[in-house]
Symmetry: C2
């Protein structure tokens, strides 16, 4: 804790509005690195702003200057991963991206990608985005728009506005973590979601 962390130069989201003082940049990197580590190590919801400040080797005030709460830090950490997935959804190859794939298959592919996201990088970090606030996120809006679009395209006559949120619900971090905790593997969870996708969106014979 005392002195020397290499700080692996996380590139992370770098806003750099006009110009950023060198010390500010250095401290932001420290905060993100420290938060990432803390979120992974223990119960994300139990990490306090104080913990992060201490682990980053900076003061409370400095931390609050840039990040008003834990959620904003988690968002900063997630940002690039979510962007990457959004990019693949919009411009990547089918069935994840647009293309000849049927809506049901595209939804299944989206589910698989989200499970990857939940599993590899963020499972712990997402834990910091708790409850209601999740739905206000820009990312959630994007996922909803995507799913809504797929429901509409499927042409099953179902209500897209209602179904979009309901189809996203199983991806809630709480739910995913609980299922993982019950001994279910990511592939099995993804398979369940695929069944759900095909059941709801695939045309009935």
């Amino acid at each position: 804790m005392a002195g020397v962390n290499p700080i692996p130069e996380l590139p992370m989201a770098a806003p750099a509005p006009a110009r950023e003082r060198a010390d500010a940049a250095r401290n932001r990197a420290r905060v993100l690195a420290a938060a990432d580590r803390l979120f992974r190590d223990g119960e994300p919801a139990a990490v306090t702003m104080d913990d992060i400040a201490k682990a980053a080797g900076i003061g409370r005030g400095t931390l609050y200057r840039r990040y008003p709460d834990r959620a904003s830090i988690a968002r900063a950490l997630l940002d690039e991963h979510e962007r990457a997935l959004q990019e693949r959804l919009m411009r990547g190859p089918a069935p994840l991206g647009p293309g000849p794939a049927a809506p049901a298959e595209r939804l299944a592919a989206f589910y698989a990608a989200m499970v990857d996201l939940l599993e590899s990088h963020v499972d712990l970090v997402l834990g910091a985005e708790t409850g209601q606030a999740r739905f206000a996120t820009g990312a959630y809006g994007f996922w909803r728009a995507h799913v809504r679009h797929l429901v509409t395209e499927a042409g099953t006559g179902a209500d897209p506005d209602v179904l979009a949120d309901q189809l996203l619900a199983p991806l809630a971090p709480d739910v995913y973590r609980m299922q993982r905790g019950r001994g279910l593997g990511p592939d099995r969870i993804a398979a369940g979601l695929a069944a759900l996708a095909r059941g709801v969106l695939a045309p009935r014979a």
Copy 2:
């Protein structure tokens, strides 16, 4: 606040292990009545133990004696409603209860009943049962067992252990409240859930 509330004699869950002193019983009734009111009035998550104690006209210590946290109070308030629904599931008429109805229709009926539950009595109270803790509830275990059973009976070859939780996810209080907040009515939400139920469990032609 000072003195006189009729206290509408909520029957509520009355454990009465051996015998309960009159003052204790009176205070429990006051606590439940006060909590019910507070949960309905404002943001449930913002209600503090202190608020409840003050509103009930008792001291902190007294409140903590019986209820270790907000969730336990919410559970006490929910208890009878959940029990009633569980009873109907196990012994009531089809399609909600057991009987000749197809699994998909039984799941749709269950969804409708849960929407009723969320809508009428508890929407606000459920708000107090936040996040992870929800899954540890006895009630949640019951819902899961029920849905798991329906998935198995449907015989679609899907994974019941995985699907049960995923099919329950759209009933999360957070999700329901968010949808209601977006202007969607209970019937519309229930219709969406019914579509989900039939898509996943109804036999394909």
